[in-house]
Subunit: 302 residues, 2 copies
């Protein structure tokens, strides 16, 4: 089960009625934050989820609205007596940017580990999940992220029997342990059926639509995507500034055959995002207008 | 007339129900901000005052809760097409700290002028006001600020007549202009009575009480002071961390004979500051528990 909270839904600047876009995930005791604009620690506190125990922070890019809340967040985490190291993932320049911001948070009681993205796509196994980063197309280097929870296949008793695998080893193999008995090495795939559908969450802001995004978010259970502007005619500023319109996000969701789309990262000029929903559901019926602290739990299929 | 808005009243970290302590002043078309923690731009927007036209930002010190909102504020000011230069005043290190934070706001359409405080007390004439900085006693270099609006004396017709000052020069001298007529230089003091009481606003956070603070805030019309903790017994953490308790602030207000005291910069542990008011008014009757966006206009006496 993956808990998902869209902490904010604004782009560019925080507003009295809309926090900046950031995403918090909880899985099996681990916590992952994607982006941290000004005020993210406040909306997180409002949500009541713990900031002390954030294990990983992923950054899409270093425009202020995606990272300006970091020094305050680190100070608050430090004040909560956190001592475990934290890992940060982001485009090239991560350590330089965070070091700059830490001019006001020079002393922290925990270590920061930096992973700078260098490839077009990169995958990391962390916290029992796969974190997949993929390059998007903004006016600065920027990445989207997919979070995948894999699911093993079912134990196949016939498969185990047909290969004469000793019964005493079954439970070890079922847990994914490679096991040696006598001279023979047994591997989990010898007793397991094919991997089952897992959980996939995709997050993408600050980009024009690209084929790589479609491929990377394909068949996500939940796709959280920017809809910077609701108007599609006359090249809105969103497009000029290398963002996506809501309609483009809906088209992307359709092409990638995701289950559900949540829109976010609204322009400050968009006061009532839901005004645009009527046209969007014609493109992709399961479009939801994200709101601050919209929350869900993604579960394995039965 | 000096408009005063206490934008926030929190210390250490922003909370869902309390913005960080910052002060905004408007005088005669000019705008001065003191401190800029995370979220200051949001509470300012809520107040409806302009951030585009801030002329001066004064910093007490560089702990995160007093400056973490600066990069976001600068970006938002930049997005509003501001081009006029802005002046920043703060303790030594100002340019280094702001440069560090600007790693996420490297390009701004306006210039920043830095004034780094080097003396125990320093006064600046700006925006038609005097900005007086005075060193306080925190665990890092920190300053308080007093803002003074001077008021000329009244035109003294008998004084002018007794010195045979030509009537045609009276209006110039009354406006404060030094005027030459024939071989004689006339100065405004030749026609004006003694300066009248002006307006004084004093602001002080993050310090232990000191004699210099008492002297610097003396007879202020409004004294805005931290009251980090409401408890005075058993050395509360406020004192250990070089802050003031509410009672100490009230004592300071009494000694300095200010007209009114607003408390601010409450510890996150203080959920209901007003619970402490009963004991404080015994020390200084005109104690007011500051709340976010508490606003007043200070006027000249009639």
């Amino acid at each position: 089960m993956l808990d998902v909270c869209l902490l904010g839904t604004g782009g560019m600047m925080p507003l009295p009625y809309r926090w900046l876009t950031a995403l918090m995930l909880r899985y099996n005791g681990s916590n992952i934050l994607i982006d941290c604009g000004e005020g993210t620690q406040i909306t997180l506190k409002k949500q009541g989820w713990s900031f002390k125990s954030i294990d990983v922070i992923c950054f899409t890019h270093y425009h202020g609205d995606h990272i300006s809340g970091l020094p305050g967040m680190l100070l608050t985490m430090g004040n909560s007596d956190r001592t475990e190291p934290i890992t940060m993932i982001g485009p090239k320049g991560l350590e330089r940017v965070v070091t700059g911001l830490r001019v006001i948070a020079p002393e922290l009681p925990f270590e920061i580990k930096f992973i700078e993205l260098t490839e077009t796509t990169q995958t990391f196994d962390m916290c029992g999940l796969q974190i997949e980063a993929y390059k998007v197309k903004h006016n600065v280097l920027c990445y989207g992220y997919s979070i995948v929870v894999s699911r093993l296949g079912l134990f196949d008793v016939n498969k185990a029997k047909s290969q004469d695998i000793p019964v005493k080893l079954w439970s070890h193999l079922q847990k994914g342990e490679v096991t040696v008995d006598g001279d023979i090495t047994y591997t989990p795939d010898m007793v397991m059926g094919p991997a089952r559908k897992g959980i996939k969450l995709a997050y993408c802001t600050d980009t024009r639509p690209t084929q790589l995004i479609t491929d990377s978010v394909r068949e996500a259970d939940l796709f959280i995507c920017e809809g910077m502007d609701g108007e599609d005619e006359d090249q809105p500023p969103a497009i000029e500034n290398k963002h996506m319109t809501m309609k483009e996000a809906a088209q992307l969701a359709k092409e990638a055959r995701v289950t559900e789309l949540w829109l976010t990262h609204y322009s400050p000029a968009v006061t009532y995002p839901s005004e645009y929903l009527k046209n969007l559901v014609k493109v992709f019926p399961k479009t939801i207008m994200g709101t601050d602290r919209m929350t869900t739990t993604l579960k394995f299929e039965d």
